[in-house]
Symmetry: D2
Subunit: 219 residues, 4 copies
């Protein structure tokens, strides 16, 4: 596929370039702080930038009228509203975490929450020192599972850790812990590639990476 | 309830005595290496002994014709055969681990195994230095989930650790780990109490702690 | 030894009673929310209460003129000032954590900090849901090692966990984690017994559990 | 520097090429299963191959008479004997693990072992499924610290994990765990670069990565 990339010079952007190149996809457009580079119109647009660039992302997706995969974290409620409006015209896939393992973790956490309703719960996440938002977007997805309960989330920023998440459940005599550890950012780029392929095959609509993995529509 | 206890002087036996006393149940019979103590006939018989005492356990259960809860680990295939024969006459509840959390861990592990069929899997267990069997009975229950695959189990024997179990799943870019940690042996004694209450209400039959927790028959 | 106990009805107080009884020491005085019980004058006074009872602790130690072992956490700067004044007259042993393993952890953390001056550091502690102060007294002892750096501490409150502490160090390519896990409160009671024995042999002075373990004076 | 690389096409070999290129060092010789490539004589020779290639490594180092950095794991006693003979003529740096963090872990483990002589100890290591030797070379370095004791080592092979090592110490009431986690193979390549720079400045002699880090001679 011919793809465009917003936030091409960031850490995740670079991994996307590597993984897409390894799979023989052609980069035809980039946009980042250093400016814009255009070779031809992209079939799909990937956003790995920052919330500050959100308006630019919207206007580029509208201009190219191409499916949009949004991997930026730290979006606001108002950003989501606009993404959903946009999804009336084009296909939008948005997720705070594009790893398959995180999708599994979310499912296991939901299951554990159903079975352990009266146990204490705490969430923990660890990322590299360069991560700007706190807690991570993935931690927010986990918090969503426990929205009816008052639970605590701790964030660690350490060296170059790609991304760890854990959920601890504790009763009076035992503790259960579910952990996910990303070994490299390549994992996320592979999920983005999967999502780009999915987006190309869909009509307009708003999808999450859960839909990509389990192949059903959310909204 | 009036209960009898085989292996009353062992670590788990002592916890059973504490937990049953806290719940106002009356100890009326004990049997261990130091001999037999009889006050009155037990309504339910608890076995926290060693496989070496298995024949004695069978004959006591037959003599009292009371429901039997078996918490001994390291049983052989031949022991199980005899337990199932006995269950044609009385109610038998047998498990290698009487913690609620382990039941949840087993369910989550089954779910993860369904979703992550091509990931590597390894099991790990850690117990106090006094534990004689290796791997633990709980590790064997976990191995059973992966019986169609060739997986490795590691056993650690450290100080006075009550019992940790973990299952690691790994793909090429990420790792998921499910962990259970018992905080004290009291957890197991509480599960045994739950099982004794369950056994008193059942007809003859062979049950596991999964049946006690999820309230359905296995065999 | 004949010992007195302030906070006798708390979780730690009860463990102290067990451990001291197992070692044939005689409880002769207690003080807690339910009132005072006096049999004879104690040779050493143990404080396992709350900061709210601090003034009472001081006046009892002065009244009996006996060595004092302070295991209460969450003390203020002003409390420490008064303890040090008191130590001009009697022997005071104070620590936020009476486990031998924590003393080792503190030493290893100091060593790691000397060798890894430019790595990121984060502290984590997990305790039972009943723990009132946050972060734990032990976490404060760990923070003290990094007082020249700006580091983050996360606190988890989960079920009945006796007490976990960890320190993570991370460079750009690797992570080192030092962890301590208390298996039961009995560990702390054993350290308090060690300290009471130490206090009986000392002249007046202010000591910590580090002094008890490594046998040298701090102040 | 102009360097030669044996095992250039392996996972570690590729990282070495990246890290050395990033630091403007010139690759002038390679040797691997696909054959030999020669541009000019190397100032230093790096070995990231397998024990099977050991004789070839020796004869190349002798031929070029250049310092040799050996990063191959799984060497035999007889291999070490020959390396030490070679070190009478040229500088040899050998280690089973070229990460700075592992050097720190070894120091902390030695310290803990001195302080916790009567606690139980177990070693655990986890690596990617492609790792051939078991236990890892680093685990062997850890075992060496406990050579007077009978301790257990467990090995896990999971997905693409770059390399985790941990040492657990346990008394009857507490557990201390020291953990190291490599985030990527780049860490090792950076340690090899450090060693190559060290080797260029030394006379003949046998050195380990500990010598490189702490700058003193072993033999």
């Amino acid at each position: 596929m011919k793809y465009g990339l917003i936030g091409a010079s960031g850490k995740l952007g670079k991994e996307v370039i590597n993984v897409f190149a390894d799979n023989n996809h052609e980069l035809v457009f980039t946009f980042d702080l250093t400016g814009e580079w255009f070779q031809s119109e992209p079939e799909v647009l990937i956003d790995c930038s920052l919330p500050e660039a959100f308006d630019e992302v919207l206007s580029l997706a509208t201009k190219f009228s191409s499916p949009l995969v949004v991997a930026t974290t730290g979006l606001k409620e108002s950003n989501f509203k606009k993404l959903k409006e946009l999804s009336n015209k084009i296909c939008v896939v948005q997720s705070y975490n594009f790893s398959l393992g995180i999708q599994i973790l979310l499912q296991l956490t939901k299951k554990a929450n159903e079975l352990l309703t009266d146990w204490d719960v705490e969430i923990s996440e660890t990322h590299h020192r360069f991560k700007k938002d706190k807690p991570s977007g993935t931690a927010k997805m986990l918090q969503e599972i426990f929205k009816d309960r008052n639970i605590n989330t701790s964030s660690f920023r350490l060296g170059n850790v790609p991304g760890d998440h854990s959920i601890s459940f504790a009763g009076m005599g035992e503790v259960i812990k579910l952990e996910h550890r990303a070994l490299s950012r390549r994992t996320f780029a592979e999920g983005i590639l999967l999502s780009a392929g999915f987006a190309l095959k869909q009509e307009k609509g708003f999808y999450t990476f859960t839909d990509v993995v389990f192949n059903k529509k959310t909204l």
